[in-house]
């Protein structure tokens, strides 16, 4: 199942949007944090986990999803949110802690919730696994269309929640897909020192379900494998585990000095940056002209600029609104 031209255009534009977004956030995040880096300061306080480099997984998977489909994302959620179609303005305002944010500033960057496109995320490793199973169960019980995708990092596959949820999804044959973004690191801990198997996709055997490995951080390959898994889920054939090789081009969070990386690793990753690579291939295969791709990039830039502007210009929440929305 190869992506159509339209899909490829969407994928490219979305990857670029995500990258420009992270670059913009990165810059703004540092406002007020120099010369002394203090997380509490600046227009975007708190932790910040950028997704640079991991865009192919998000777009390759979400290209198959509709707003009704469910995504549970991670502590590193921007690329996933953007690919799922979360409202960029309100998402940005949330990251800035503004009243116009998705949840009026109560959530922040690790807690982006958009009911319109069934998107949720969380700051606890593997916490999205259970809710994805439940979303899939809900659709199956209600006879309503929709699959649920849980994105997790490769380190999250060592959490108990991963195991329990995969087993439950398999026992109940639910339309659920777990996508592991394998960027080889959990903060400073290398996968090979934390994970007893070379590839997490083999863990599908523990649940009697298909497991796929996608190498190379390649949007085409991810699209293909995800398409199969999602079609399978829609057809009522149960869950799938997908492990996708990807790269984290940034630190774990902003402020991370990345001393744990072997020398040269960063450089090598940048040489394999998936965005220029995709552009090159789209041009080489004649899918899009350079001008068309420039156009897509301009669209991406405009969307990001508008979202940042929206967030900057929005008002702070009322402090006392902290006490509201605890209960429905």
């Amino acid at each position: 199942m190869a992506p159509s031209k339209e899909t490829l255009g969407w994928m490219y534009r979305t990857m670029v949007t995500s990258r420009r977004y992270e670059n913009a956030i990165e810059k703004i995040y540092l406002e007020g944090k120099t010369p002394v880096f203090n997380m509490a300061r600046g227009p975007i306080p708190g932790e910040m986990h950028l997704s640079n480099g991991q865009e192919p997984v998000a777009v390759g998977v979400c290209a198959h999803l509709k707003p009704e489909d469910i995504v549970t994302a991670t502590h590193r959620p921007h690329h996933q949110a953007i690919a799922k179609g979360v409202d960029l303005d309100r998402m940005t305002a949330e990251i800035f802690g503004k009243a116009t944010g998705l949840s009026g500033g109560r959530g922040g960057h690790m807690h982006l919730f958009d009911a319109d496109v069934n998107f949720a995320c969380s700051g606890i490793i593997a916490q999205g696994m259970g809710p994805a199973v439940g979303g899939a169960l809900s659709r199956k019980m209600q006879g309503k269309p929709g699959v649920a995708v849980a994105f997790i990092g490769e380190s999250a596959a060592n959490q108990g929640a991963f195991h329990e949820a995969m087993n439950l999804a398999a026992v109940w044959k639910l339309p659920m897909i777990c996508v592991i973004e394998d960027n080889a690191w959990g903060i400073s801990v290398a996968k090979r020192t934390s994970t007893s198997v070379e590839h997490n996709h083999v863990r599908a055997a523990s649940y009697g379900i298909p497991g796929h490995y996608v190498s190379g951080n390649d949007p085409w390959k991810i699209y293909e494998v995800a398409g199969e898994a999602i079609a399978r889920a829609r057809a009522g054939e149960g869950p799938t585990l997908i492990e996708a090789e990807t790269y984290r081009l940034a630190g774990h969070f902003m402020g991370d000095t990345e001393g744990y990386r072997p020398k040269g690793e960063k450089q090598a990753l940048f040489e394999r940056d998936p965005i220029p690579a995709m552009r090159k291939r789209l041009e080489a295969e004649g899918t899009f002209t350079a001008a068309e791709l420039d156009g897509l990039e301009a669209e991406a830039a405009a969307a990001v600029d508008a979202a940042i502007r929206f967030a900057r210009e929005s008002a702070d929440p009322k402090p006392e609104d902290a006490l509201t929305a605890v209960f429905a």
């Binding site: 696994m129 439940g134 899939a136 809900s138 949820a165």
Partner: protein, 342 residues
Amino acid sequence: MENERKLTIARAMAEAVAQEMRVDPSVFVMGEDIAELGGVYGNTRGLLDEFGKDRIRDTPISETAFIGAAVGAAQDGMRPVVELMFVDFFGVCFDAIYNLMAKNIYFSGGNFKVPMVLMTSTGGGYSDGGQHSQCVYGTFAHLPGMKVVCPSNAYDAKGLMTAAIRDDSPVIYMFHKGLQGMGWLGTEPGANVHVPEEAYEVEIGKAAIVREGGDVTIVSLAQGVHHALKAAKTLEADGISAEVVDLRSLVPLDRETVLKSVAKTGRLIVVDEDYHSYGVTGEIIATVAEHDLAALKAPPRRIAFPDVPIPFARVMEQYCLPNPDKIVAAAREICPAGAPAA
């Protein structure tokens, strides 16, 4: 009483769930041994037969997964009623409870609702050892985002369950094993009361004065309420008139009812089967001290489980548990000797 329809708490709970399931297809039940077996404590008995396997689901022993799944289903329009067999097991799945279920409404600014009920059994007294006898009421009540109810009788049990299922927020429904009316766990006859056949709600967050009195207020919940009522009877013979407040709900906490009662009696005893420190008893006493210090004519007292793991041996466990005698002794200490009743 004519037309009296005494039910056990177990039956009252099952009835409430069944009635809601009949009218609302989004309600379903998940948990360990809740289908074929009808729940270890009988509170899902009969549901499998009426509603079938799709809506009454036995789960693997994977509390993190199925409670997390309940949250996902609730956010997607379902109304799961989930069972954590013993509250003592909360440690294997508390993230899904306190950090997920309890917070997603807030994190979403109210854009997601999380209408689910987590029912779980509490309490000891039958020598089940330190991992099967706890209450941990204070633990659940301390963390924001979840309502917490603890019925002491079948009428409240049904009404609170109905209210909990209809609530768009997550509700922890804690039922005490000693009150379930399962003979094999002992039976507290006072818990089996008249239960109307039709569905009704008991408002979550309202305490009840279950006995009026003028000399001392005894605040408690779940099984402690029955201890308090027994103590009150004994005290009556001493000429001490005890008012008994059944909290029914820990979150929201009905501070007003407590304050009003203490304003009247001037004396306070709090009875809780949960651990002594940093829990329910401290919260109730602090509430009175900070809001109505002057009302207190005597130091408030608490009767709770000491800060030790729950021992197995009967003599040790019984030594630690609250009981009517301990309440009577405390009341006698803080109340001026009244004229013994004739």
